[in-house]
Symmetry: C2
Subunit: 424 residues, 2 copies
Amino acid sequence: MTPTDLAHAARAASRRVQSLPSHSRQAALHAMAAALSERRQEILDANALDMVEAEKQVATGRMSSALAARLKLTPEKLDVLAEGLGALAEQEEPLGRVLRRSFLADGLELMQETVALGVVLVIFESRPDVLPQLAGLALRSGNGLLLKGGREAIHSNRILHEVLVSAIEPDLPGGLFGLVETREEVGTLLSLDGCIDLVVPRGSGEMVRSIQAGTRIPVLGHADGICHVYVDKEASREKAEAIVVDAKTDYPSACNAMETLLLHEEYAAAQDLLQALEGAGVRLFGGPRAAQRYGLDPAASLSHEYGDLAVCVEIVDGVDEAIEHIHTHGSGHTECVVTESEGTATRFLSGVDSACVFHNASTRFADGFRFGLGAEVGISTARIHARGPVGVDGLLTTRWRLTGQGDTVGPFSRGERQFFHSRS
Amino acid sequence: MTPTDLAHAARAASRRVQSLPSHSRQAALHAMAAALSERRQEILDANALDMVEAEKQVATGRMSSALAARLKLTPEKLDVLAEGLGALAEQEEPLGRVLRRSFLADGLELMQETVALGVVLVIFESRPDVLPQLAGLALRSGNGLLLKGGREAIHSNRILHEVLVSAIEPDLPGGLFGLVETREEVGTLLSLDGCIDLVVPRGSGEMVRSIQAGTRIPVLGHADGICHVYVDKEASREKAEAIVVDAKTDYPSACNAMETLLLHEEYAAAQDLLQALEGAGVRLFGGPRAAQRYGLDPAASLSHEYGDLAVCVEIVDGVDEAIEHIHTHGSGHTECVVTESEGTATRFLSGVDSACVFHNASTRFADGFRFGLGAEVGISTARIHARGPVGVDGLLTTRWRLTGQGDTVGPFSRGERQFFHSRS
């Protein structure tokens, strides 16, 4: 099938699947979970083919061993995936939730209800685990799914796709999950803005930017995670040190790791805080004022995602300048204020225009699992549709349903009937 | 100022306005309303300049008199606009509504709250009334607004913009409302996808399509309104006739008017229904089956928006074929089923993938005012962000706010603390 055929098939299948009762979609999720267990050996064999190639790349220095580790599937990982699909089946039904209900007039009832978004294209790298997770989320919420994995996981993605499709095909319409493998196919899909409703790129900032630049389909994701921690003059020393060290060192390459530390110019324990970071192995770069005051190497940019044990430090006059710095140099992902002053905290939380704003808590909490959203579709720094960590809600839209008794607008236009718009 | 400067100014002003308390934004709305009354004569004088030009165009047949009438401002129209601004001030506060609240763990509270979307570009034709309405909506919800009106209303739009900006500038940051006048300026704005969050085109389908094709900014709107009414074999004769005639004739050029009538092949009163339409002055075209059975002129297309007293009629075997026809030929706007069978109604309402699905009610009810949403931003047939008639909710997004006590993720990773995710 051509990519265009796959997209149309996903749309048609999604329309049929979203009107199936909840129990049919639940049964299909359980069937997918069972298939991952029953066909475990085939999956591991295919993954072994990818690993042979990956190990060659690691040996010649063209792939990091961390990346190779993320590529590897194990019986344990497959068990976790199967459990995740089972848990998804038992979660609250996402479709048909009534968000708003009112009577427009006697006998004329309006409801706004959740429905499936439609067709979602996910472009992911390396980790083949993403495929069953997203297939589960898409099926639970009645969406068609088009998948493009990385070349390095081609055998793993093929077998996982085949296993999941075979598991649901006896009962559900075919074509709900489509798999493409080449750049050309993705290029075609990215041009189908009439047929694909959302693109979710899961990979490097460069990959996300190139997709954003090349499509008119809305993109859910983030190219950059330039997260700030602002340590106010009224910060607790202990909290500041704990949060700053955790935000930078817990997982430095994560998008929610701190990249810039903003210090109030009167924060008394600044030297100790910087020493604590250095003690944790963090290399410090300075913005103009911090470089001068603390003798730091000057930062090449105040808008840099280090993704490593390195951080930019800068001094600000107070919370307003911190907010201004964040708006000028940030990426709208996650920012934290450390202060004991409620007034300063409120000013920061109301004034910072980012997806996540935290008070006295590490930026590393910005995550779908930690937020309690269940499986995570992605983290979005766009303002449209879904923002911040996004769970299954990002795969939904709404529909208006009006039930009347033969009602027409004529009597309302002529003043014979009146709208009363009662919320019920 | 260049269009890029206007966009950046609108972003900066929006960030300041959205963190102002509700009463400041309310006071500014009342000031805008007062200015429309106090400076009424200046506004009417400017409008008169546009009307002189419009009347020349009408005389030479280059403008319809309906369009000229929509262009004209009157003291009464200005009173209605001022009242609308006052009513908006008194509406429920849209910002800071808590949509979700939970404790992730002891002392770690998460909230998802509504915030302003950011900067919205509205491109509108003819009616200058749109300008104060949208300025009011934007201010109420803390959004920056960029406006591009039609050439035919240039004097009216300029004075309205100046009056509103002068009214709010003593108290609010300047630059919240920007006005551009040329195609080139709009072209620049449509390329600023990093700085403008949403485009709302209000005009012809052709205009909407050209904007959708020329920008990566999300577009809220609809290019086409190809609405269907399906009359089932179990339809009530009276309801079918009332709904079909109202949906076609109440306002034939509206986007929510019926364009295609689908008849169940066994619907007994089909001839009477078609006669009722003809009696109301509607010209009938037929799809292949209806053209043959009823001797109608064949429709050139089954996906046509007549926007006039004309309709396409087609025969289908039942509700499933009706749904299929709508998915193939519709525009995802509004569709209605007329039936006394609850089973058929449910099948139609669940199976049709459109923004609005109605049972026994005219498609003409698909409208923000009739839905009780207050002022209408537009009607969207896109699936992302907002769908169907969109009120102030379409100008909002959300932000996650986390409040801790110095919390870090380390203890959770090491198993020393557990998430419990209690909803409160």
